[in-house]
Symmetry: C2
Subunit: 188 residues, 2 copies
């Protein structure tokens, strides 16, 4: 698939076919994600791939609980707009996707967000090229329970940067409108 097609087809997908994503496909995609550049070639990213439905549900519940706790402490939280959804027991922040990939690394790494986001961009393109759909789920990163963190491979020193859901899309929506780029030119 050429890049122009990829640009059109890489949409945020939240509606998936009931079809598993083969683990070999995920492994290939992650390999390509690791071709992203990183600060000082440090490659701080690690990955957890969760296809176990009940675990995904528990991760969703954990994240929702912590987001609600955050809103209670800070009513100006940008999550305030999602408060009703967070209270809805039937709402799964991971949209019942068949596969969830967490990209994370040591929280003390000074470029962790940027490096993991670069790997995430690569991962989303690599998935799109294979007919898969993805969505970065910001609401899914609030995993604090120590046992649950351990269960999915996170240490105390790690921070989740990118929770990405992956699956075969039911359909690919049209791109959402974009703002005109704001660009300043300094050419002379």
């Amino acid at each position: 698939m050429n890049f122009q097609e990829l640009l059109k087809k890489r949409r945020s997908i939240r509606n998936f076919q009931k079809k598993e994503v083969p683990i070999e496909v995920i492994t290939d995609i992650i390999k390509e994600a690791c071709l992203a550049p990183s600060a000082r070639h440090s490659q701080p990213w690690r990955f957890s791939v969760i296809t176990h439905k009940d675990t995904i549900k528990r991760l969703s519940d954990e994240s929702k609980k912590n987001i609600l706790a955050g809103i209670a402490v800070n009513p100006d939280s940008p999550h305030k707009a999602y408060e009703a959804a967070m209270h809805n027991e039937r709402f799964n922040v991971f949209w019942n996707a068949p596969c969830l990939v967490f990209i994370y690394g040591p929280k003390k790494h000074d470029y962790l967000d940027c490096d993991c986001a670069l790997a995430a961009a690569y991962l989303m393109f690599a998935a799109t090229e294979r007919g898969l759909g993805t969505c970065w789920i910001g609401l899914g990163s609030h995993i604090e329970n120590p046992e649950l963190r351990k269960e999915i491979g996170l240490t105390e020193d790690d921070r989740i940067v990118a929770p990405i859901i992956i699956g075969y899309p039911k359909s690919i929506p049209e791109p959402r409108d974009r703002a005109e780029p704001e660009v300043v030119f300094i050419s002379s």
Copy 2:
């Protein structure tokens, strides 16, 4: 160009032909960068495109000065390894590239790093597709002088996330080795 080729050709390039990058090409690339996803579709990114050689030199000097000041305050700084280069008057952190693009946005935005890094990944692929080379210059983001910031379009409230140099590569080096991906699978 297909994605597999892009993956191979997107290398960090620090050695450029003496050839200008047409402003229309940069404009197209930035348009494609803005197709990146962003948290809550907020598109916090803005861009400054600098092709003026003297301005690029002054930005390099400013960044080097501030990095050295940072090392003086914190000898454990990850920049310590670059101290000698920062003292070298002839070293331009932007590698004498013909074009420098800063991607930045409001520092209070809670996903600024991730969103700008996603746009940067798109920008680097879009440039590669057009035969251009890029490199993310972490050492180039330390621009604090208020007049210089103003000159390139930054307000006090902005933070530079990604300084990307762009130009036609003299050659495309082989990929550097990558560590084997560290992946945890939770499938049952």
